[in-house]
Structures are given as structure tokens and as C-alpha cells.
């Protein structure tokens, strides 16, 4: 069905893609010294991995947030608000804690990532399925428990770092958790492979997302194997969050902002469009945000601080205007 609305949305997405390209180009080229090829190459080799990491992160968080919102049938919840990213940093810290800072796992970024992702898949599914079930999918309770879990996970994580190295725990913390000033670009290839695999394995379930928005009863009535489908999608969501957190560290509100912007702009139920829109928004926010941070604030304020303030206000706005909570 190629309705006018659909065509309009495709147009919007094309424009967004153009903005993404433009901002990516700007990020790569602003204030580069073209007169010296050595300096130019140096600048580009620094920026290119960071740009790729931001694009992957935006896609992973944007897609995961949209999918998660549709699973739980509520647009004020995202996986990061429920502490999935803190869970990932905790898992990574715990793995290093158990294996030792000098071990192969701690030194080899790709190996560490693989181990973390495997544990994350299991741990997150167990923990979050348990709370969804126990709260009967009551969104407010899930949210409140999620925010408390965030502080639980990060408390345990900080404790572990302090136990590992009581003197230099800050340095250790910085090396364990990625951030925008310290992106983990070693795992780019592995992340891309993982994301592609997730999309491939879940292609059927992703196609069912449109039906899932009708709610559990109606989805079952239309012949969807609901529970299995939800379980698989939830696993995919956790793995996407793992990818994003491994690369740039926790950014709680990004998913909330971009997923809702995408829904507002596209006003559709089609998830293929929504996911693309959300990913593009994420790319624009991150790349332009980082551009501003690097050239206006000269790296002083990390982009995640802006996202927290903006996202927090936006969340309050959504929470208070949401009619169907």
C-alpha cells in the first residue's frame, strides 16, 4: 500500500539521510588543516573511527528503543531508562574483576566484548522478564524498578572497581567504561557483524512488530506466537544496548529522545520507517552534538551531559502529558 502518507514519510527520511551525511561530512572536515597532508591525515584518522562509532551507536540505540517501546506498548519507556546500559557496564567490570586486569579478557577488547555480550543476553533477559512478569507489565512500576536498578548496578560496579584498585579506581573506571572522549573503536567490526546477525535472525519477528502494536490480545488473535516473539525481540534489544554501551558508555536519555522524535515526525506504525527515523535522529544528535562539544566547548563538556539535561526535561514533559499511563 503506497499511500501519500507513506510517500511523504519516505521523503522525510531521505531529507534526514541527507542531513546525516552533511553533518558527518562537517564532523570530518571542520577545522582540518588541508595545507599539510600529514596533519590532515592525522585529523581524519582520529575522527573517522569516532564517527563510525557514533553512527553505529545511534542505529543500535534508535532501533532498540523503538522495538522496546512497541514490545511494552508504551512510548515513555526505553531500555536505557530501565538500566540496561548500567547492567552492561556492571557485567564488563565484573568480568574483568573475576578474570583479573592483566588477563587476556581484559586486554583484548574484542574478546571482552564477546564475553560481555553473551552474559548480557542471559542476565538481562532473566532480570527484565522477571520484573515484567512480576509487575504485570505495569509501566510505572517497571520504570521505577528500572531507575532503582540503574543505581543498584552502578553502585555494585563502582564498588567492584574500588575493590580492584582502592588507590587508582578513577583511572580504572575510565579504562573500563567507554565514553565519548574515549570511544571503544576496536570492536567496530565485531559490532557490525553482531548487529547484522541480530537483524538477520530476527527478520521474521521484526516484520511482526507492526502487528504487536495492536496489543497482546489482538496480536494473538491475528495468529502471532506472542510470548516467543517478545522473548526473541527482547534479547535483540539487550544485545543492541550492549553494542552501544560497549562503544560509548551509558547514555540514558538518547533513546527516549530520538525514538519519540521519530514517532512524532513520521506519525506511522510502520516500524521499518520508525527505526530508520530514530536511527537518523540519533546520528544527527550525536554527530552535531559532538561537533559542538569539540569545537565550541573544546572537549570540556561531554555530549552525554547535554543529552541528560535535555532528555530529563523531555522525559518529565512526556510523563506529565502522557494520557494513557
Amino acid at each position: 500500500m503506497r499511500t501519500p502518507a507513506y510517500r511523504a514519510n519516505v521523503r522525510k527520511l531521505v531529507i534526514m539521510a541527507a542531513i546525516v551525511l552533511a553533518s558527518a561530512a562537517a564532523y570530518m572536515l571542520v577545522e582540518v588543516n588541508f595545507s599539510s597532508s600529514k596533519l590532515m591525515n592525522y585529523a581524519l584518522s582520529l575522527r573517522a573511527p569516532k564517527l563510525i562509532v557514533m553512527l553505529i551507536t545511534a542505529f543500535a540505540i534508535g532501533g532498540a528503543s523503538i522495538v522496546f517501546q512497541s514490545i511494552i506498548n508504551n512510548t515513555i519507556v526505553t531500555p536505557c531508562l530501565l538500566g540496561m546500559n548500567s547492567l552492561y557496564t556492571l557485567i564488563h567490570t565484573a568480568v574483568v574483576f573475576v578474570a583479573g586486569t592483566g588477563s587476556v579478557i581484559a586486554v583484548n577488547a574484542n574478546l571482552a566484548f564477546a564475553v560481555d555480550v553473551a552474559i548480557m543476553g542471559i542476565a538481562a533477559t532473566v532480570i527484565y522478564s522477571y520484573f515484567f512478569k512480576k509487575t504485570n507489565h505495569n509501566v510505572l512500576y517497571v520504570l521505577l524498578i528500572g531507575t532503582v536498578l540503574t543505581s543498584l548496578f552502578s553502585s555494585i560496579q563502582t564498588t567492584l572497581t574500588r575493590v580492584m584498585d582502592p588507590n587508582e579506581y578513577d583511572t580504572l573506571l575510565n579504562s573500563l567504561v567507554a565514553s565519548f572522549s574515549n570511544v571503544n573503536s576496536e570492536i567496530i567490526v565485531l559490532s557490525l557483524v553482531l548487529l547484522a546477525a541480530i537483524i538477520f535472525v530476527l527478520r521474521r519477528e521484526l516484520a511482526l512488530l507492526d502487528v504487536l502494536t495492536l496489543g497482546k490480545e489482538q496480536a494473538i488473535s491475528l495468529g502471532v506466537d506472542y510470548d516467543k516473539c517478545i522473548r526473541k525481540l527482547l534479547l535483540g534489544v539487550t544485545l543492541c544496548i550492549a553494542v552501544a554501551t560497549a562503544m560509548v558508555g551509558p547514555i540514558s536519555f538518547l533513546g527516549l529522545i530520538i525514538a519519540n522524535l521519530s514517532r512524532q515526525l513520521l506519525k506511522t506504525y510502520r516500524h521499518s520507517l520508525l527505526i530508520l527515523g530514530s536511527a537518523f535522529f540519533g546520528m544527527i544528535v550525536l554527530v552535531i552534538g559532538q561537533l559542538i562539544v569539540e569545537h565550541v566547548y573544546s572537549y570540556a563538556v561531554p555530549v552525554s551531559v547535554f543529552i541528560t539535561v535535555g532528555g530529563g526535561i523531555y522525559f518529565l514533559y512526556l510523563l506529565l502529558t502522557e494520557k494513557k499511563v
Binding site: 509487575t135 512500576y141 521505577l144 531507575t147 532503582v148 553502585s155 574500588r162 539535561v309 530529563g312
Partner: protein
Amino acid sequence: MDKLAITNFIMFCSVLSRKGAKVKKYAVTLVLVFILIVLSLLSLFIGVIDIDLKALAGGDSEAWWIFLASRLSRLLAILCTGVGMSVAGLIMQQLCMNKFVSPTTGATISSAQFGILLALLFMPASTLWGRAIFAFVMAILGTWTFVWFIQRIKFKDVVMVPLVGIMFGNVIGGVTNYLAYKYEMTQALSTWLVGHFSLVIRGRYEIVYLTVPLVILAFIFANHFNIVGMGKDFSKNLGVHYNAVLFMGLTIAAMITASIVVVVGSISYIGLIVPNVVAMFKGDKIRGTIIDTALFGAIFVLVCDMIGRVVIAPYELPIELIVGILGSLIFIGLLMYRLKNGRKAIRLGAAGSSACAAAAGAAAERGEGA
């Protein structure tokens, strides 16, 4: 037949408990006092430098000085923190009629931190008192704003309130972070972000004593808070100035919190959990619970502090981390309990006046099911 027997037993039980309530009322408090004293003594003698008991007994003035400066100061700070945070939480919950409001979930702590940052920014040479004043003002303003805000909105579920509070606190924290990064204050601020007692030494912590008169004040006005908690019309009917008492109560709670944050740093969850746990056993009459809440809060902080000192001795874990772990687990437990036992369970505490009656009630429900 079985059902009847169970019901009879429960009736008997609750009658018994009501008769025994008067004795029990003080028994609980006495037990708490006893535990607190034992733990306090224990806490005094756990530590990095082994205290030379002989020197103390011999009246060695230097040994006494070290003892007082490090151990006793720390113990007093811990007690004030535990008492202060839990009473502040109790007042806030009572005034807002919501069991999930507390200095953590009501943006009080993050506002106080914001105040400290402002003091560091505008008066880099400020003393502890200077910072405290900034923290007081901001904590009071933050809490007022939050309460003003939530009173204007009809919430469908009580958990909306803490959610809004946590997010409000997040935003304030974000702004604090922004300023800290921008003016390169992150190092300086970090002391106040994660609460810990390791810097409590004489001359650096006395502000925390402010909690004592404030808690006493809270005790005097306990009945007023209780009445205001019943609502605007209810208090008018009884001739209580709703707004005056409300804002006074919030101010007391905010000042208690701020004076602790200035000295110790952020300590979350105590104000949330301690009053809830006590209310589960003792009901919601504030006069009846304020002392137990204070005692239990002190014990809780004391235990957390001891755990923090023992785990990686000779190093110390900040108390905020221990509280963060224990507190969030208990909080999730409380939430699940509330979900399982229906809305009334936590909002009204144990509906009866004693723990036994509540337990009997729960047993009755189970009994009928079986």
C-alpha cells in the same frame, strides 16, 4: 471448620496483640536502643589505627585526642546522618502523603549538591558554613518546587511521584554536571557526589549537629505534620495552617538533608527505606514512629558504615555505595511487596496499630484462600 478455627485464632491473636501493644510499644524502642549502643561501641573500635586501649585507660591525653578526633567524631556524624536522613524522609512522606517521597526521590539531595557547586563557583574561598548556606537555600528551593509541582498534578498512580522526583533530580544533577565540567570543578565536586565518612574529623563536620535541633523541632510538630498529611480540608477543619505547616515541614526536612550532604555527601535511599520499614511494623502515626524511625536509621547507617570499613580494609568503601546496593535491593523488595499486597499495603503501612495485627490480617487472607 478449618476456616472457622483459623478465623477464631486470628481474632484471639489480634485481641491479644492490642492488649500487649502498650508493653510492646516500648519494647521495640528499647531493643533498638540496645542494638544501637552495642553497634556504636563496636564501631568505635573498628578502624585503621588500632586504638591503644591501655593508653586510653591510662589517661594519655594524646591517645584521647586521636580517639575523639577520629572515632567519636565519626560515630557522631554517622548517628546524626542516620537519624537525620530517616526523619527527613519520614516528614516528607507524611506531608506529601506518599510513601515513595524522600530526599532522594524528591530532588532535595541533588538540589543541595547544586547549591554546593554554586558556592564553589561564586565563592571559591568559602568556608564550610558558606557552602552550607548555599546548600540550605538550594535544597529548600528544590524541595519546595518539587512539592509545589506534584501538588498541582493529579497522579493516577502513587509511583508517578517518585518517578517525577527522580527525573527532576536527574535534571538538576545534569545541570550541576554541566557547570562542573564547564568550569573544571568535577574533581572538587566529586567529594560531595558519593557520600562517605572518611573525611569526618574535628573541625570539618560539626554542621551535621544541626540535625539534632531540627529533629527535635520535627518531633514537637509531629502531630501538625500528621494532620497536614491528611489533606488541606482536613487540616483547615482542625484549625491548622496548611501551607505554613507544609512549608515549615519541608524546610526542616531540606535543612536536615543539606546539612548532611555538606559534610558527608549524597546518601540515598535511607530517607526512603527506613520510614517504610518502620511503618510496616508500627503504622503511620508519626509521633509513635519518629523515635523508632530515627533509631532504626542510625542503626542502618552504622551497619552500612561498618560493612564499608571491613570489606577492603585497610581501605574504605564510601557508605553511599553500600547504601546504594542494600538500599536499592530493599526498595525493590518494598515495591514488589506493595504490588503483591495491593495498594493499601505500603501507603497505609500496616493498617492496624501493631505488627501482629497486620500479620494476622495477612494470615486471614491466606487462610480464606486455603
